[in-house]
Symmetry: C2
Subunit: 379 residues, 2 copies
């Protein structure tokens, strides 16, 4: 089986990730719930993971690294906790439903007004629109770092400068890029960075989080047990407890911590170079296949390890099924939870066949996928 669906989840993890989860399941108590050795060990593992993630993201405040179950929860927490009635928000056509649906819900509830920066047919946002859509009450720009459909990156430095010049915050969905590309949070001026643990970070499913810059306060989302200030009617105000009611996924976070160790040792730049080379190899070959349409902007100097294509007018699901059944290649077809991006590309009916690569993808697997696509296109 050739697994080329790393943008959905990284199937292959560094071996030490699994080892760390096993060790955690044999030794961890409930973090911040008691002072015995197993509970303290859980607290140490979790605090260590905060510190490593802060280092990975160029962020100096580990206590403001908050753990969640996935990027969707991070985004719901951020978007429901940040805005007040009357706020204006700007987002983009590139977004996943995990950004769009929370914002639509706030808009439909009359809480916020929303403008959406259009994308062109290459899948790039209209950067001029970020500035022209600004209003005095614009509280934030919410944007993905990399499209899960085209793999295009958004130029965060550019968007950050626009946000800062208008006094707005920058909220970033790094689902596709955390662990796979450098994201220097403070240097870039990101105010809230949302990530998942099970994709480029190569941690277990059930992990994710967000980094909340000092000066930005999110209202609690889940409230409940906190292990401290038990007699308060409300969730404690200090970070990270403010945003982390209930028992954390200590077992998963131990695995994520081991994964971040691997990333820090290997170097995200090294990972990015390898994935970029694999992506180029695939792109250079498939763009020449007659009948194959490739989506996205491959003139970008850096991008996600994603190449989405279609073959003629064939339904993307049929191509993906053929790749699986005839070639043992796992990819994802369909709508990818990115409805506006499909509309911009004109693929809302056909969907797209997404090939996505990771650290453990080999050149031989890339070449097998190229051959498979050549044969399917020739049919």
């Amino acid at each position: 089986m050739i697994y080329l669906d790393n943008a959905a989840t990284s199937l292959h993890k560094p071996p030490q990730v699994i080892e760390a989860v096993v060790e955690a399941m044999q030794s961890l108590g409930n973090a911040a719930r008691g002072a015995h050795e197993n509970s303290l060990q859980a607290s140490r593992v979790i605090y260590g993971a905060r510190c490593k993630l802060a280092e990975l993201f160029g962020f100096s405040h580990p206590e403001r690294v908050i753990f969640t179950a996935n990027a969707t929860e991070s985004l719901n927490l951020a978007l429901n906790g940040l805005f007040s009635p009357g706020d204006h928000v700007i987002t983009t056509d590139l977004e996943h439903n995990s950004v769009l649906r929370p914002l639509y819900r706030l808009e439909d509830a009359g809480m916020i007004s929303l403008d959406i920066v259009p994308a062109d047919t290459l899948g790039n946002p209209d950067y001029a629109a970020f500035a022209s859509l600004m209003r005095p009450n614009t509280r934030a720009i919410v944007t993905t770092h990399g499209s899960n459909l085209t793999g295009n990156l958004v130029d965060l430095h550019r968007v950050s400068a626009i946000a800062k010049s208008h006094g707005a915050l920058l909220v970033v969905d790094a689902s596709q890029t955390a662990g796979a590309l450098p994201i220097p949070m403070e240097e870039t001026g990101i105010d809230v960075l949302c990530f998942t643990g099970h994709k480029g970070l190569m941690g277990p499913q059930g992990t994710g989080g967000l980094c909340v810059a000092p000066g930005v306060d999110l209202r609690p989302w889940k409230v409940g047990g906190s292990g401290v200030h038990s007699y308060s009617r409300t969730q404690p105000e200090d970070y990270p407890t403010r945003l982390e009611a209930g028992t954390l996924n200590g077992h998963g976070i131990a695995g994520l911590s081991a994964a971040v160790d691997f990333l820090l040792e290997t170097g995200v730049e090294t990972i990015a170079r390898r994935e970029s080379a694999l992506t180029r190899r695939f792109y250079q070959a498939v763009k020449q296949i007659p009948g194959v349409t490739v989506y996205g902007d491959f003139s970008q100097p850096q991008r996600c390890a994603i190449v989405s294509v279609n073959v003629g007018q064939e339904d993307s699901g049929r191509i993906a099924d053929a790749l699986m059944e005839d070639y043992g290649i796992a990819v994802r077809p369909g709508a990818h939870c990115a409805p506006r991006m499909h509309q911009a590309l004109g693929t809302q009916h056909q969907g797209a066949v997404r090939f996505s690569f990771g650290w453990y993808t080999t050149e031989a697997e890339i070449d097998a996928a190229i051959t498979a696509l050549q044969e399917l296109a020739a049919e």
Copy 2:
């Protein structure tokens, strides 16, 4: 190390739980995100876990078994998704902050009015108050099944009958009882059953869920990617997708599924009998130690495997530290996130030293804890 903090998290899991997590981390894709073998395998594992949990809880609707990260999330989802402006809600003094804080927040926002059934000094709710507090607009009784502080059970059949006779729903926090005691959901008339995976169910941290009876509709809590209906502005309405935006914790759920296999094979009644015998053994001995106060009602025919005590006027934290340092016994002191229960018992300043037992606790460990408490009380 003698681990007697099972009410915080079950440190010792059946070996097949760890094996299932390892296998999942080596094979699962992202459930409901694609149709290749790894993704389908994730979907199968997760659907299997729904079916097993439904069987465990005497519930005929596996598609209405919803996965969350823990009981706190389950309760936030249930309580924020159920009530409408003007609703009246009844809860109890026995509750954990994971019930109280979501309800307080709704009350403070002017969404609901709230009444709280008082507890007596034994820690039992005033059952007459459930009926006398009923109003025409009472939407639900929200109650724990078992107190995390005293281990007392609430008579759910009795509360259910009161709720039903007034047309109100019954929402149950089964954090302390799921997996440890039988909870026949339909037979008892529970409308929403909230549970965590990492305590009596003996699954991994980062797992939990809720069962939502047909006819009860919860508004979505997290919204975002759903893998289906990508072009809808709102979360799909069908269960379970309605309440499960984002990538599920497939790795953790695989472990939880193996844990429920173990519970179904062993029999929850067998587990309950064993834990009850251990609890009785401990209680019968420590209640006779001069200077030791035991909290809770031990005339109950069935209860949680919890015995909370204090030694004279000693701070509960000091006793727990001595148990850890001098005897290697892990327990939990302090406030246990149950502020009103402490007030009813009069232990809000002293806290309480909670001993909690599990399937893997041995009689020798019970006896060591008895001896330790005898020696500490004699000091």
